[in-house]
Subunit: 402 residues, 4 copies
Amino acid sequence: MPATRRRFCQAAGGLLAAAAIPSALSAPRRPMSEDAVDLPPAKLTGRPLPDLLQPLPLPPGERIGFALVGLGAYALNQIAPNLANTRGCKLAAVVSGNAEKAGRVAAAYGLGKEHVYSYDDFDRIADDPAVDVVYIILPNAFHREWTERAFAAGKHVLCEKPMAGTPADCEAMIAAGERAGKKLMIGYRAQFDPYNLEAIKAVRGGDGTDGEIGVPRIVVSDHGRILDLAVTRDQWRAKKELACGGSLYDIGIYSVNGARYLLGEEPTETTARYLPRSDRPQVTVEEGVEWQMTFPSGAVASCTSSYRVAGNKRIHVQGAEGEVTLDPATDYYIRNLKIQSGDKTRDVEIPQANQFAAMLDEMATAVRENRDPKTPGAEGLRDVRIMTAIYKAAETGEAVKM
Amino acid sequence: MPATRRRFCQAAGGLLAAAAIPSALSAPRRPMSEDAVDLPPAKLTGRPLPDLLQPLPLPPGERIGFALVGLGAYALNQIAPNLANTRGCKLAAVVSGNAEKAGRVAAAYGLGKEHVYSYDDFDRIADDPAVDVVYIILPNAFHREWTERAFAAGKHVLCEKPMAGTPADCEAMIAAGERAGKKLMIGYRAQFDPYNLEAIKAVRGGDGTDGEIGVPRIVVSDHGRILDLAVTRDQWRAKKELACGGSLYDIGIYSVNGARYLLGEEPTETTARYLPRSDRPQVTVEEGVEWQMTFPSGAVASCTSSYRVAGNKRIHVQGAEGEVTLDPATDYYIRNLKIQSGDKTRDVEIPQANQFAAMLDEMATAVRENRDPKTPGAEGLRDVRIMTAIYKAAETGEAVKM
Amino acid sequence: MPATRRRFCQAAGGLLAAAAIPSALSAPRRPMSEDAVDLPPAKLTGRPLPDLLQPLPLPPGERIGFALVGLGAYALNQIAPNLANTRGCKLAAVVSGNAEKAGRVAAAYGLGKEHVYSYDDFDRIADDPAVDVVYIILPNAFHREWTERAFAAGKHVLCEKPMAGTPADCEAMIAAGERAGKKLMIGYRAQFDPYNLEAIKAVRGGDGTDGEIGVPRIVVSDHGRILDLAVTRDQWRAKKELACGGSLYDIGIYSVNGARYLLGEEPTETTARYLPRSDRPQVTVEEGVEWQMTFPSGAVASCTSSYRVAGNKRIHVQGAEGEVTLDPATDYYIRNLKIQSGDKTRDVEIPQANQFAAMLDEMATAVRENRDPKTPGAEGLRDVRIMTAIYKAAETGEAVKM
Amino acid sequence: MPATRRRFCQAAGGLLAAAAIPSALSAPRRPMSEDAVDLPPAKLTGRPLPDLLQPLPLPPGERIGFALVGLGAYALNQIAPNLANTRGCKLAAVVSGNAEKAGRVAAAYGLGKEHVYSYDDFDRIADDPAVDVVYIILPNAFHREWTERAFAAGKHVLCEKPMAGTPADCEAMIAAGERAGKKLMIGYRAQFDPYNLEAIKAVRGGDGTDGEIGVPRIVVSDHGRILDLAVTRDQWRAKKELACGGSLYDIGIYSVNGARYLLGEEPTETTARYLPRSDRPQVTVEEGVEWQMTFPSGAVASCTSSYRVAGNKRIHVQGAEGEVTLDPATDYYIRNLKIQSGDKTRDVEIPQANQFAAMLDEMATAVRENRDPKTPGAEGLRDVRIMTAIYKAAETGEAVKM
């Protein structure tokens, strides 16, 4: 099989998943000798549908409508533009406390004024049939209230991570969804990222065989960035009443979640220490923590998160026979994956790895197929429980069992 | 300036160009002490429009409508999906000889049946006000005819590279556009790719100063791939009547064009040799050529293109003080840029470098501003003249002046 | 300054240190216009001494003679061959319990039989004037005894790391050296490695200015390898009576020492946990530990060492404005150094970075100049104290102050 | 087999070649269960000879003695120090026109004054039994004369590349060796470099199977550096009477030789062009050339060499199924090897790849075993013939058959 074909199939395998392209339209994929090929005539003819890297989108009328609650940097830079890159989602409404901004965004995306909501009149969204899913992209402290409001309005909910400030809040959100009979998903984009999925395969193997790196024993993961009060999107994160937690809730959660999905098991104990704070009195959240987690298999994770170091977003998994390095692991746009096994090292490059579109399509598919999404409320609750334990360990200096 | 801020600005600088975000909506960008920052209150408020990596799209009604002529792999994998990633373009019509395929694509993208055209009834597109630009993505032999038909229908034209089979065809296309008073642009996506633009800066410098690599002296560029007759999108390329030329017209053109835009000058002479052919009787185009080009500054380019080697898409520029390496240089999704200067080497990573969207937006902007696009017909003609000279040099074994 | 010259000077700057090349022999290094150069005549003439990447070695008679005690893998693969790559050292004697092996090694390196010692008759080395320094490359448990024997024989001592099993042993070794009026150095090769030295510069800056990465805040370092009982050189390491400690003493020490020299300060507190053991009853040392160290500046180090993961030897230093990555950091032959600062990333490559030769020459120079070596006994003691504290923290589950 | 063991064996396989370590001394290498291992007792015992990365050197008395003719940068930086890294060579004499320099070098390396020769009294070396091989590291114009003088003195000859200025000179040198019954080897270090050897394997495969990259079709190789008249070692290279040729003879020869050893065949035709010259009147050699070579298999090589670009030393081999990249390919100390095959890419790292020592040992072994060296005079002649043809093609503008 020539390299060009293999390349295509790899991409397709990673991205098409169960995409069923009707066979009548597809190019015939039988293995054929090049000798047997009939080249097209020297005139324009209708050729069959070519191999597609991604399936055709669903017709607009069949797509799931999303309302974005909160029009901050993530909503406008990563989510709104990527709805257009999904197979089955569309922007259906926007919700903001800044009417001028909301109107401008709505116009840019072709939404009528009737699909623009303020925080105050949000509840009338119950009557907006264009909206199937409410995607909550607000400061963490508002996740519970808005999830409950959205369920009350009869909508499905996709909620940003961290799910909420406390396990009790998370449990209330899950219960609200169950009462409403609606789906609840947490926006763990990295779990839909083809690079992270490839890393999981190298770590965990499958079908009873070890992954390429042998038994995984140690996860080392570090996430850091400078919390910059002069930047709008960082301001609420500095304030405990809004952010609920500090660097751990914002970026350390990627290490918590990453260790869990890479190892495929749940931690049972944690130790932790806070890192030194800056002297900025406005910052009322922790600015750094280092922690360790023990897993039933004996694997351990050693992690740091910090608001006081330049950007890093790294996960290493060290196994008995090799190592996986994702560096950066959880960037929006750039991921580098290196897999070392025995004396071989390979760099994995996956074109068009759009984690945002994949995450959004998972929510839409879960709604369409009436099944639980891959990262449901229970997944968000697990991380909040672990992060609560990490903070407790850091406060007390004692190991905390989970 | 903290690293996170610099990163943002770099991305914005690269991508936003002249994007004017109305100032009333923008976050205040004055330099401020962190001490002076007022953090938001602990309740939901309307915050200003955040920093945007890309400007908001234009409202659908203001976007330029594109008709895609030909629904092959490139049209459906790279162009149709990326129209949604532009600021000012939208899909407005499809033209195909396969009615079932065209209907399915139209439905997927929400186009009414009235915007679906066959090759036979295309000319009625003159009466379709939704269509501003006709994007011709057909086998090369049809570029001239369809450009003329599109101009005759009163539309602007974006035409894939290579522009046409002969300089005379190119000249006729340019003349047709001038007669129609419409824009003609050739789809040189790499000239809109942020990686290639960054490479140009490192090679050519600006404002009277040399680029980082000093005076550029040698360009080495190689493009290769296996022409696979079992793959639909390769079949017409094997046939001279459809493709007009072989590997040079298909992929070697990236080396021709790349040497020109990296050096910023026009070659004056070329020498060339054909590479050995396969024994596939169906393939009637050249399957490989190596050639050299001389430039007025004394710089030379040494290039290969081949349909018989595994994929490579590489450009090196060697200067008196350093070297730029783009490898791959012209891939759809992955580009790696390394700039070596003196004893420093740096890897450039540019998030969200979408050359397709940037190219499409250039056409839309040229139409909207009634100005020539950056890569007009004259640019396509230059490459066809050079490739004609390369073939002549390969046929005769003599240097050919241009 | 042309790139080739800069390259040379960088290498020279890194490696020549204070190498004084007599000026009468050197090529004139004044800046000169190329126009002023007189090219040599077209016949053979005696040219001046060229620029040297390393200074000429000292005449054999002036070199410091080393006796190697223990002829295991490290002595024969790394040390004996590299004595020939030093400026001022030579092999002068070998000491082993395997007379056949010792004889063969001596012959290979041109030593007379009188310079071959057994463990039993070692003390007669006092009468061997060819031997200035005894380099002890024995299982850790023997470091103290042999250091004392060597000092008793009137020789200087270079002793492998870890210095000894307990702080008390280390103190006794230091005292023995002071009594003898001889030098004691610990074989911390990484502190002489040009890559690690360059990393130190990027972290710590100099002359009152920060390093490239800004204030360093977090060190993350991991060292691992499979302890393989079927390999001779690993067998003694499995046994507590011989190795004194486990993975921490063998490889984790590189993280302890590395964090200290990269930050340039001493840790004040540590927390630690053992990692799970294998089920190999013969292994009586710890097989893994994760630990954290707190430094006066507020910087923390988070480290792991393991005998149960495939090879890794990595140090990251995360600063307020960038990051240094050494991966591998402490390999014998291969080091990769990446320095990221703001939005620039650069890979540092240093040709001929021979840490073994640099370490050996430091010992020779200290002897010749009658000064303390850079990594004296006190340096070894510090690490043994810290490792003792780490083990205590792992045993008790409590933080241990130092 | 654990990774650490595999790593060792790879290194060993690459470097030990036929190194026979006497079995009585070696550690037992039978596969063994770890359970069966008897760990050493807790006292010092004589352990067997450990696994050696390189065989023990031969006793000084059995090593082949080398006289270095010419004490320039290469002789003193690369060759003299690396004789100490060989298994079977030693420095036995130095020959220079600068008596002070020669005396100082001799002293540094422990040579008695009787082994110091001037260009005038060289012929008395015939009576120096310490000298077996004369290594000629003089400006190219002197290679023939000195090879003949060395043969006349009854010595074997290792001569730097390029072998000589003309094919006739090369033939005379070969004839002189045959008359003298002595070996003649040309110093093609890259043919002994483990990275280049690994690349050859990936290109040419073995045992009737293709290499990893499939049938090789195109070699692209570029060598460049700034010829800097202010640097002593570059001065003679600027002068035609001394250097015989320009950049092609100096560095382009690596591309010529590399294409030949990577493809394993001889070119049959070449085309070429000179690159533009600088305006330095002192430089009487060509300062750049680009050329192509055709091989019987149909493979082609497209190469450049230049004295006017910053350092590059690169070889790509493009095959039907993948690509080998050596960049740098021919640096003294740093080589990077990337092998891409299908959709896998791997970086090859070979510790301690010392091409100088391997080359010197080949000469010593050829002498000891009385066989032809791997890169005999005939190999040097082939390149000089090809380079002569390249110059002729550049002069005439016509293809030149070989």
